[in-house]
């Protein structure tokens, strides 16, 4: 049996510090590390032998150290900070997400000795979050909407085939992303992926871009130039906004699709192409065919596999996922640590109908990144046009609810007073019977199956 008594308080503290899974270190007033617990060694990969005596920023190496050190703030204002999110970099260049809490270190007489920093490794939680997200992730696209999940389910087979694909969808729905996903899943993934916006170029330029030209084909053609079809080799070419091309260009494209050959401008020799073609449009190609603005034969040539990307307003359930994704992306790109979006701001996004689709949402989040220095994105960081509905929504909602509740009470009371006789209840309320039925339906009141008249008779 141990004859010694319970450990002294100082010993106790040491035992506790060594047994917890949070990293803890202390610094003196000159920012040199004075203690470094076991978990701190494990998380940072630095032994306490190496850490003690060194400046905390040389050991801790967090993104906060230089600009916004929580421990420095604590030492300056004498206040503790709890759970600030940041990341540290280990010696093998791995970034570890952590949360940090800081407080002052004082002796028994209240004199400040330095600071203490407690940090928690969030890698596992981040990994679980990523796993959860990846179940809705396909290539670079993310969605939990049934229509998109159905699309994801087909993509692998579509990618394996060589057929021409037509992608239809409003602007900003991710047509290029989908094309890239098809290319990346296909056996052509090691070959080039080339996207060109057909609507942005006049015919002659578009043709010289796609098919190339020979020296002397036109005034400024001083040497041969390879076109995108040649550059793509056995890769994939995305012809975006194909609905905006001229009939003359459509004829040339039809020939490429039919013969798998093209002729550079100024050349008489056809060149074989093995590139796969994906066409995309934000217009109703079928409608354009009906009004003779798009060649019917070309339409049938490209409409072999047609995929329709739903607009964002039809997949609003994806907004939280997309917002998280854009925040993570912009945090990396802008070196910020925005923690997320608060409920009110998310509500505002969910009320918007996004005519610009996902691109518009991404731009809104980028706007918020400019205005939001840290923490979550709140309504005041969002563009002004999104904040307009706040007044409209906040004040009428309670009044509407109050009116609805009063109407429901009055109807139920009238029905009760008249033994569920609908006609009598309507008369008592001063309403026509059909108005009563309309209100009953609107308010979701369930009426007893038997009308009061039948029970009384």
């Amino acid at each position: 049996m141990n004859s010694k008594g319970p450990p002294a308080p100082l010993e106790c503290t040491e035992i506790i510090l060594e047994s917890i899974s949070d990293g803890v270190f202390t610094v003196d007033l000159h920012w040199r590390i004075t203690s470094f617990n076991r978990a701190a060694e494990e998380i940072t990969g630095i032994s306490r032998h190496e850490a003690i005596g060194r400046y905390c920023w040389e050991v801790f190496r967090s993104n906060m150290c230089e600009g916004d050190c929580a421990l420095r703030r604590t030492m300056e204002v004498g206040k503790s900070f709890v759970s600030s999110a940041t990341s540290i970099i280990t010696s093998n260049k791995k970034q570890i997400p952590i949360t940090v809490s800081t407080s002052l270190l004082k002796d028994g007489s209240g004199e400040i000795l330095g600071g203490v920093e407690v940090f928690r490794d969030m890698s596992l939680i981040e990994e679980l979050r990523r796993d959860l997200r990846s179940s809705f992730l396909f290539s670079d696209m993310i969605s939990r909407s049934p229509a998109m999940l159905e699309l994801f389910g087909m993509l692998d087979q579509i990618a394996q085939s060589d057929s021409t694909v037509l992608i239809e969808g409003e602007t900003g729905t991710g047509k290029e992303l989908l094309s890239r996903a098809i290319h990346n899943l296909s056996p052509r993934q090691d070959q080039p992926f080339i996207a060109i916006n057909c609507g942005a170029l006049p015919d002659t330029l578009l043709e010289s871009e796609l098919f190339g030209y020979k020296a002397g084909a036109f005034t400024d053609a001083r040497s041969d130039r390879q076109g995108l079809f040649s550059a793509a080799e056995k890769g994939t070419i995305l012809l975006d906004e194909i609905g905006d091309t001229s009939p003359a260009f459509q004829v040339r494209l039809l020939r490429v699709l039919e013969d798998h050959t093209f002729q550079p401008l100024g050349s008489t020799v056809p060149i074989k192409t093995n590139a796969r073609l994906i066409a995309a449009t934000n217009r109703d190609l079928h409608g354009l065919v009906e009004t003779n603005q798009f060649r019917r034969d070309l339409f049938y040539r490209i409409n072999i596999i047609a995929l329709r990307l739903p607009p964002l307003r039809d997949r609003m359930e994806d907004i939280p996922l997309l917002v998280d994704r854009f925040i993570a992306k912009l945090n990396r790109r802008k070196k910020k640590l925005i923690s997320g979006i608060d409920e009110q701001a998310l509500d505002l996004l969910l009320q918007h109908d996004f005519p610009g689709n996902i691109r518009e949402l991404e731009n809104i989040i980028e706007h918020a990144f400019v205005l939001c220095p840290e923490g979550p994105i709140t309504p005041r960081h969002l563009p002004a046009f999104l904040n307009l509905p706040i007044q409209k929504l906040r004040s009428p909602a309670p009044i509407d609810k109050t009116v609805a509740d009063s109407e429901r009470d009055a109807i139920l009371k009238a029905l009760h007073n008249n033994h569920n006789n609908r006609t009598a209840a309507a008369m008592q309320l001063g309403l026509h019977k059909s108005t009563l039925f309309r209100k009953v339906k609107k308010l979701g009141i369930s009426l007893p199956e038997q009308d009061g008249r039948s029970t009384r008779s």
Binding site: H30, W31, T44, G45, I46, S47, E50, A51, R54, Y55, W57, E58, V59, F60, R61, S62, N63, M64, C65, E66, G67, I89, T90, S91, K93, K94, Q95, R332, R333, K334, K335
Partner: protein, 134 residues
């Protein structure tokens, strides 16, 4: 030789990924002949790498750096000397004179922090990097 170093006041910036200032310097005949500081906060690594290449920088010296920016810098053809700390002027001088930078290694750095072998001599053991670093 032109060298860039992410700095924080008179020290090497502890983390390249969140560094706000870069020091550009030219070394001729073992002497630093030109120096200039630039604000780089918020600049994405690809743009920064392009800027360094445009300025003819051969070597980037920095503190801790994560995988992604490190690979971007190296892919741009810039030699990376990472996970160093201490007084920026002393480190630059050590680079200029071609002497060992081992004393500037960050703790926990198992591999030699300099990819480029500058050293044949050793830095004066009396002059520790922390001497003027605080």
């Amino acid at each position: 030789m032109k060298v860039a170093m992410t700095v924080w006041g008179n020290r090497v910036s502890p983390v390249f990924d969140s560094a706000q200032t870069i020091l550009l310097a030219e070394i001729k005949d073992s002497t630093v002949t030109w120096e200039q500081r630039e604000f780089i906060a918020g600049q994405i690594p690809t743009r920064l790498a392009r800027m360094l290449v445009d300025r003819g920088i051969d070597t980037l010296i920095c503190g801790a750096i994560s995988e992604q920016p490190a690979s971007i810098i190296e892919a741009a053809g810039i030699k990376l000397v990472s996970f160093v700390s201490g007084n920026a002027a002393h480190l630059l001088e050590a680079c200029a004179r071609g002497i060992s930078t081992d004393h500037f290694k960050m703790p926990g750095c198992k591999i030699p922090c300099c990819r480029q072998q500058w050293q044949q001599q050793t830095l004066d053991p009396q002059r520790r990097p922390d001497e003027n670093g605080g």
